[in-house]
Amino acid sequence: MASSAAAPEKDKSKVHKLSLKGSAKLVAEFFQYSIHTILFQRGVYPAEDFTAVKKYGLNMLVSSDDQVRAYIKKIMSQLDRWMVGGKISKLVIVITNKDTGEHVERWQFDVQIFKTASKSKPSKSSSTPKPTDQENASPSSSAAAPEKTEAEIQSEIAAIFRQITASVTFLPQLAGDCTFNVLVYADADSEVPVEWGDSDAKEIANGERVQLRGFSTANHRVDTLVSYRLAE
């Protein structure tokens, strides 16, 4: 709906509107590449296991180890479902030291769903208030959100990955063998398959936190936050 308000000014053909489903898919895909990128950047798996894939205008490194791929695929298949259902508020990747069992790094992706936008979209899409009506506009969070082009979203995502890559410069070196876990913060009413179980937040005690970039689509906003244990 927001797009139609902005569309008259812009070139209509260039504005490609993402549906909620498409937006969820885009966010899920972003998660998938984030997991791969973090696994690579933080050395959870050997660098040789990764192959470069062109994505978001970047060379994304994706694991080509069958087991790792299968593992991530399994996570993603469920994540896709939750994303489309709008059940997820956070996705967290926790890196844990295998020997001590300590959580050493925690990558958190906060997902914000613009519920109003998604709800009102089908009904109101054509009858959006004209610019002059804005004073009386209802307080919808996306009332006048201009639609982003897909290219803009892609470049936002690319910026995040650049930041994740750059973050190795300030993150402490991970000592010893590390493994990782994926957590999601899901709504209480979501369906939970057997592979998923309740967990604690796996927060890092006395961790340092750094907020990274975020990106948004018409329906979602994703923020990135990394927390890590300060080296003693």
Binding site: V44, S89, Y185, S216
Partner: protein
């Protein structure tokens, strides 16, 4: 509240930006962007509901204590700004509207968001100072309470923004005062405006709460029970193990082109299903025997109780070569290097040599008085190891066949392997010893290795490094050791986790395959020298007793206690892959591979 103070920095960042446009954003000079604010601002004077708002704010959103104080400093006087946060909060409750209003305008004006991206502790201070200096000009009398954008956004981050928002509004509408209504309308309008401002700007204009704020909000939300609506779920299956230890330092400046052939994308696929399964009825389940061998002529000989069968891999035909007398059994079979003859060791200690093409016995050699469990050919020399621990070398061409007696083992010899050039001989026994002999001086072993803790049956010489010998120990030992046979040094070891019954090097890949007895009954392919287990194939239902490689080096035959003989394509040559490893004898065997077909 220590955390409240932490939350100030970001807000004050916003203050920096607001200074730029603050003049234009004065309530009495509405800009097109803020149409709704000024109207409401002007129409709503101080109203009694203020306090109710305040208390709501203060009670539910103590996060903003810090903000309030920050703004309050400005409004009251500069002398106060060093006060402790707590004291400021208290004051903030009394005159919060101005403060909050300022907060909103600050927010809507965060045009560039540059600072928001770089959360740091140093900047906030600067921000607050600036704010103070510029904001003092604002006319507070005209201000009125406007919900702080930060409040709703923070909660939204926690995932329950709507819920909270409604809660806030309900009491207001309930009071049914005109001013209250206006106030709530203002709330709405502001909310709309806020969202406007978020979406209007470039993506970067969205001012993110600082990490610590988020953290605090999270914990606050938890404390308030907001998280009751969500549950934290973990993907329970353990992630796959890393194939090798990782040194991040190496990772950060690695070569552009990965040199290692162990990289996953280059890792070859190994068929985990057998190419062919044959029955081997009557195969004796005895670790110390060696009953399977594959000739250079592509024939497989197997000893089944008293019989030796020869299976032609080319034709798929089976023939019974011999049947021993009723009082004994076949304890070992070994093809000569040219594949024309097969040596057969018997339980009585007799060693027979058979011409396979003719199907006739050429000679019998006596000497051992205990069973001959292992044999090895070196051209015309046949070495035989017996239960007594003695190893004899027989020159099969001459009548006085016994040419050497190798004394080292004190218990049954079950492993024996000549190096391909015939210069060294390795033997392994039930006395847990590995003996390495120099062919020129057989009086004493060149080296005797005592590292294994169980019988050593599995012995294999590396095809590309003549000095490298692999030895595998029995069920108590479970290790594969790698030796430099020139220096006698142990160069590598693997703990396989199960009895090692045989070892075979690949002639084409830098790999070695081991067969296991209890408890795995599997085949494992290891990369050398990385010692990474490339694959483990659950091969048989019971322990794998013997294995041998096809003459082209691609196929492995295994015989197991489950009385089956299986063929595995473990070292399949890919087109062009052969060139990558100039394996010893690879070229010589190329011809053979052409004619080899297993049906």
């Amino acid at each position: 509240m220590a955390t409240a103070t932490v939350s100030t920095p970001l807000r004050s960042h916003a203050g920096i930006f607001s200074t730029r446009t603050a003049g234009g954003r004065m309530p009495l000079t509405p800009s097109p962007r803020q149409r709704s604010i000024p109207v409401n601002l002007n129409s709503s004077p101080f109203t009694p509901d203020k306090s109710s708002h305040d208390s709501q704010r203060a009670s539910s959103k103590s996060v903003y204590g810090g903000n309030l104080t920050a703004h309050l400093h400005r409004s009251s006087s500069k002398s106060h700004h060093r006060d402790s946060p707590k004291s400021n909060i208290a004051r903030g409750v009394s005159t919060p509207r101005k403060a909050l209003e300022l907060g909103v305008s600050d927010f809507t004006l965060t045009g560039t968001g540059v600072y928001a991206k770089t959360p740091s502790s140093a900047k906030p201070k600067k921000g607050t100072l600036k704010q103070k200096s510029t904001k003092t000009t604002i006319n507070y009398a005209a201000d009125r309470f406007i919900p702080n954008r930060g409040a709703s956004s923070a909660i939204a981050h926690v995932g329950s923004g709507k819920l909270d928002f409604q809660e806030k509004q309900r009491p207001k509408s309930g009071s049914s005062e005109a001013s209250t209504f206006l106030a709530s309308a203002t709330d709405d309008a502001i909310a709309a405006l806020e969202s406007l401002s978020i979406e209007d700007e470039e993506s970067t204009s969205y001012s993110r709460p600082s990490p610590n704020t988020v953290a605090y909000q999270d914990s606050l939300a938890n404390a308030c029970g907001v998280s009751l609506n969500t549950r934290i779920l973990q993907f329970k299956p353990a992630p796959p193990e890393s194939s090798k230890p990782i040194d991040l330092r190496q990772q950060y400046n690695r070569p552009l082109k990965p040199a290692a052939a162990t990289a996953a994308q280059f890792r070859r696929r190994v068929a985990t299903a057998p190419e062919r399964v044959l029955d081997a009825p009557g195969l004796i389940d005895d670790y110390y025997l060696n009953l399977l061998d594959w000739s250079a002529n592509n024939q497989v000989a197997i000893g089944l109780e008293r019989n030796v069968y020869v299976w032609s891999a080319d034709e798929g035909s089976v023939s019974c070569l011999l049947e021993a007398s009723a009082d004994t059994y076949v304890s070992s079979v070994k093809w000569s290097g040219d594949g024309a003859y097969v040596g057969v060791g018997l339980g009585t200690g007799e060693v027979q040599i058979w011409d396979v093409a003719e199907g006739v016995k050429i000679r019998s050699m006596f000497g051992h008085d205990t069973r001959v469990g292992v044999m090895g050919w070196n051209k015309h020399l046949l070495s035989t190891g017996a239960r007594s621990g003695l190893v004899y070398n027989h020159d099969v061409r001459i009548a006085e066949h016994k040419v050497a007696e190798l004394v080292s083992h004190t218990s049954e010899v079950c492993g024996l392997e000549w190096r391909s050039d015939g210069a060294q001989l390795a033997t392994g026994g039930n006395d847990n010893l590995v003996s390495i002999w120099d062919a020129r001086s057989l009086a004493v072993p060149k080296f005797t290795k005592t590292n294994h803790k169980a019988a050593v049956k599995a012995l294999a010489w590396c095809p590309w490094n003549m000095n490298l010998l692999a030895t595998g120990g029995g069920s108590y030992d479970r290790h594969i050791h790698f030796w430099n046979t020139t220096s006698g040094a142990r160069v590598n070891s693997i703990d396989t986790g199960s009895q090692v019954t045989s070892l075979r090097w690949s002639p084409h890949y830098r790999e070695i395959v081991s067969s296991s007895g209890f408890p795995d009954n599997s085949l494992s392919i290891w990369s050398y020298p990385t010692l990474v287990r490339n694959i483990e194939i659950p091969a048989h239902e019971s322990r794998v007793l013997h294995s041998c490689l096809s003459p082209d080096g691609q196929m492995l035959a295994t015989a197991a206690a489950d009385e089956s003989l299986k063929f595995w394509k473990v070292f399949e040559k890919k087109a062009g892959a052969g060139a990558s490893m100039g394996g010893v004898g690879a070229s010589g065997k190329a011809e053979l591979s052409k004619q080899m077909t297993i049906r």
